[in-house]
Symmetry: C2
Subunit: 454 residues, 2 copies
C-alpha cells in the first residue's frame, strides 16, 4: 500500500508492473502477506482508531450542520462494537479461502504431445472506487492480494484520515513480504479518478461500489470494462398456488430485512386468484411495519374490500413509473397478473413484466409447483432467480463465496454476487514438441485428435 | 432472419424480445432449426450463387479500377472450389457440438432444502459486425442459434446481394421452426450501426470482426461491452537451449503459414548465446521465403558475420517502433536478449519485453527446459502462451472448439479463441422452502451450511 504524490499515469503504470510480479507469486506468499497485514493492523489498533475518531468528529459536525446524513456518519465509526474485530477477521477469512489462481478448467489433447490447458489467472489491475466505510479498505486489500490482482483504491472522502492510517500500516506490513509495494495504492484526490478512467492501457477493470449515480458516471467516462450494478429493481411474483404464510414471511423479509439494500423487493406481482386471500395478509403485515403500498386498480379494489378500514384508507395508486422505480424505501409497488387460460400463461405474463421492468438483478417466484417455478426460473433473464425464498438471499456471503466485491448486473464476465472467481480470467497454454499449423493442412496433413482430458 | 425496414431501435427491441423465447428453446428445437437452415440452403444453391456472382462482377470492376483490393475480391467468391460445401458443412458441425445451454457449473447446499445452482444461459442479444466474406453469415447464424442468442448482423457492403439472398433463404427456413424470426436480423445500411451502438438497453455484446480500425472505432462509440482484438502483435522467444531445427520450422510456420493473420509472429526475441548458431539458420529460411528482417545491433552484427554476403547485405535496422508494430506482412523484427547471470534472468528479460510490447494475444517460447518454459508461460500476460509450437495454433478450430466467433484480447469475460462458451453467461438459481435472510441473523440465528455439491 502506498500513499503517493505520483501522477495517475505513474500510479497506473506502477500497478501494472507490480501486477505481473503479484500474479506469479505462490499461494503461500500471498497468504503470508495477508497474515502480515492482519498482524500489523492488530498492533496498530490505537493509532488507527484515533485517526478514525478524527474522521468521526469532522463528520459529526457536518451531520449537525445537515451537510452529511446520519447513516453515513454511523458507517464511519470503526470504534462501534464488533466492527474492528470483524474487519480483522475478514482478512483471515479471505486468506483461508481456496486459492483461485492456477486452476486448470479445461485440458485437451490436440494431438500427440500437443496439450492445451486453460488455467485461471488474475485479471491484472483493478480500480476500485468505494464509499466511506473505513473497513472496506482492508476487505478489498485482502481480496486483491488473495486473487493476485493489483488494486488502485479510492475511498469516500469522509474517511480520509482512517484510510491514510490503515494504508500506512498495510504499506509497512507489506515491506516484509513478497507482495510488491505498488500492488495496492491509495489515491486521495477525487480529481485523479477521471484521469485514471482514461488509462485503459494499464487498468483492466473498474469496480465502483456506491450509489447508482457513481456507477453511471463511471460507465459514461471510461472505455475500461466496469463491473457493478446501477440498479437493483427486484420483483416477487405470488403465483396462485403460493403458500400464504410463506408469502407473508418472504415478502416482509425482502422489503424490511434491509430496505435500502439493492436486493430488497420493489415490485410485487400478484396472481388475480389470490388478491382477496393471500394479498391482504401480506398487505397487513407490511402496513404494520410502515410500508406504503402503491396498487394497480384490481389489487386496490381487492384490498379495499378485505382490509380493515384504517388500512384500506391509506392505499395509494400506482403510476406507470412506480414499476420502474428502485424505491430503496418503505414503499412497494403492487401489480395484478390477470386471470389467464392456464397457470403457465400467468407465469408468462409475470416473466414478461419482469424482463421488461426489472434491472436483471434478482427476482423470485412463490409457488408450490416445481414446473411453474422452473418455467419462471428459466424465463426470467436476471442474475439471480429464486423459488420460495427472499430476494435478500442474493449476497456473496450467503452464497458461500466468503466475501464479495459487489453484485453485478452485467451480462458478460461475472453476474450476480462477485467473489474471488469474478476477479479471475484465464489463459490458454499449449505445450508442444515442435508441431506447426502447416502440419495439419487440409490436403493430406495430420488430423487433430481433440481428445478432451478435462 | 429478416431483412427489414425497421428503425435500429425497433430491430434491437425485436431482437431482445426474440432472445427471451430463443433462450428457453430446447436443444432439439435449436438443432432442428439448424437442420432446416442447412436443407434450405442446399435447395437454393443456384439462387444464392447467382446473387453472389453479381457481387463478384461488381467487385471485379471495382478491383480493375483499383477501388478494391484483389484479396477482398478473392474472398467474395462463393463459387470457389469447396467454399459452398464448407459453408454448409459448418452449419452441421455447429449443430452437432455439445449444447452449451443449461450446464450446471456450481451447486451448493446453503442450508437444508435451500440449494444454490449456477447454470449457463445465453447472453441475450449480440451485434456482430463482419467483413465481406459471404459464408460468414451462415457461420454466425449457426453459432447464434446453437448458443441461444439473438443476433443482429451487419456484413461488408461488397457482399450485399449474397447476404440478401442467403438471409431470405434462412428467414423462410426458420418460419417452419420454433426459432423466432427476429432472432437473426440483417441490417444493410452502414448508418444504422452507430444508432445500434447506442442501444445498450437491448444489445448485450458487440463483436466486430474485421480490421483494427473497425474494432477501435466500435469501442470508442459504445458503452456496450465489445469482444474482439484490436491487435495481434505476437512474439516468439528463442531461449539459449532451443532446438535449432525446431526453431526454424516453428518460426517459418508462424510467419508464413498465413502472414496476414492476427496470430502470425511479428517479433523474434533471440538469446544472445544463439545469435551465431540458431539465428542464422532461422534467418536464412526466412530470407528464402522473402521475409525482410529488422534487427537490433547485436543480432545484425551476428548475422553479418554468419550469413552469406548477399543475405547479410539486405538486413535492415530495427527502429523502436518496429517492436510495437503488427506488420501482417513479410517483415520480422528481431531483438537480442542479452547475456545474463542465469537462464531465468534471461527468460525474465524476454517476458518483460513481451508484457510491455505484445498485444496480449499469443506469445511463444522455444526451449528444451520445462522449468524455463513454465516460468515463461506463467509470467507472460497474454491470452495464449505456447511452448515449442507455432503462434498460428491460436485458433478455435485448432483448439477443438469447432468454430470461433473471433479471438479476444480482452482481459474479462472471454480471452483467446472464443467459441460457443464465450457466448454464454450464467444465472444463479436458488430453490428454497420459505427461508428468509432474517432467519440467519448473527445473534442466535440459523447457521449456513455452505456444503459444495458441485
Amino acid at each position: 500500500m502506498s500513499l503517493t504524490d505520483s501522477s495517475p499515469a505513474q500510479i497506473a503504470q506502477a500497478a501494472a508492473v507490480a501486477s505481473r510480479s503479484l500474479a506469479v507469486l505462490s499461494s503461500d506468499a500471498r497468504n503470508e502477506a495477508l497474515t502480515a497485514v492482519h498482524r500489523a493492523l492488530v498492533q496498530s489498533k490505537d493509532l488507527i482508531l484515533s485517526a478514525n475518531a478524527q474522521d468521526v468528529e469532522l463528520a459529526s459536525k457536518a451531520a449537525e450542520n445537515g451537510e452529511l446524513s446520519q447513516s453515513v456518519l454511523k458507517r464511519l465509526d470503526l470504534g462501534k462494537k464488533g466492527k474492528w474485530e470483524d474487519m480483522l477477521q475478514g482478512i483471515l477469512d479471505v486468506r483461508d479461502l481456496d486459492d483461485p489462481v492456477g486452476k486448470v478448467t479445461m485440458k485437451t489433447k490436440l494431438d500427440d504431445d500437443l496439450i492445451l490447458e486453460r488455467r485461471s489467472c488474475p485479471i491484472g489491475v483493478l480500480l476500485i472506487i468505494f464509499e466511506a466505510r473505513p473497513e472496506v479498505i482492508a476487505n478489498i486489500t485482502s481480496l486483491a492480494i488473495k486473487s493476485g490482482n493489483a488494486a488502485i483504491l479510492k475511498g469516500g472522502k469522509e474517511s480520509t484520515e482512517s484510510f491514510k492510517a490503515i494504508s500506512t500500516v498495510i504499506s509497512k506490513a507489506l515491506k516484509s513480504t513478497k507482495v510488491p509495494r505498488a500492488s495496492i495504492q491509495l489515491v486521495i484526490t477525487r480529481e485523479s479518478i477521471s484521469d485514471l478512467l482514461a488509462l485503459d492501457k494499464y487498468i483492466d477493470l473498474v469496480i465502483p461500489r456506491g450509489s447508482n449515480e457513481l456507477v453511471r458516471s463511471v460507465k459514461s467516462q471510461t472505455s475500461i470494462p466496469v463491473l457493478g450494478h446501477a440498479d437493483g429493481l427486484c420483483s416477487i411474483y405470488i403465483h396462485a398456488d403460493a403458500d400464504p404464510s410463506m408469502a407473508v414471511r418472504i415478502i416482509v423479509d425482502a422489503k424490511l430485512n434491509y430496505t435500502a439494500a439493492c436486493n430488497s423487493v420493489e415490485t410485487l406481482l400478484v396472481d388475480e386468484a389470490v388478491l382477496e386471500t393471500t394479498l391482504p395478509q401480506v398487505a397487513s403485515s407490511l402496513f404494520e411495519k410502515g410500508v406504503s403500498l402503491r396498487c394497480d386498480k384490481l389489487s386496490k379494489a381487492a384490498l379495499r374490500r378485505t382490509l380493515p378500514r384504517n388500512q384500506a384508507a391509506i392505499l395509494q395508486d400506482a403510476s406507470d413509473t412506480d414499476y420502474d422505480t428502485e424505491f430503496l424505501d418503505l414503499i412497494l409497488a403492487i401489480k395484478t397478473i390477470p386471470k389467464t387460460s392456464s397457470p403457465t400463461a400467468s407465469v408468462d405474463l409475470a416473466t414478461t413484466h419482469i424482463n421488461a421492468h426489472s434491472s436483471k438483478h434478482t427476482d423470485a417466484i412463490l409457488t408450490s409447483s416445481e414446473s411453474i417455478a422452473d418455467r419462471f426460473l428459466n424465463h426470467v433473464d436476471s442474475a439471480c432467480v429464486f423459488w420460495n425464498t427472499s430476494t435478500r438471499m442474493a449476497d456473496g456471503m450467503r452464497f458461500g463465496f466468503g466475501t464479495e466485491v459487489g453484485i453485478s448486473t452485467n451480462k458478460i464476465h461475472a453476474r450476480g454476487p462477485v467473489g474471488l472467481e469474478g476477479l479471475m480470467i484465464y489463459k490458454y497454454r499449449v505445450r508442444g514438441t515442435g508441431q506447426v499449423a502447416g502440419d495439419y493442412s487440409e490436403d493430406g496433413g495430420r488430423k487433430w485428435k481433440h481428445e478432451r482430458l478435462l
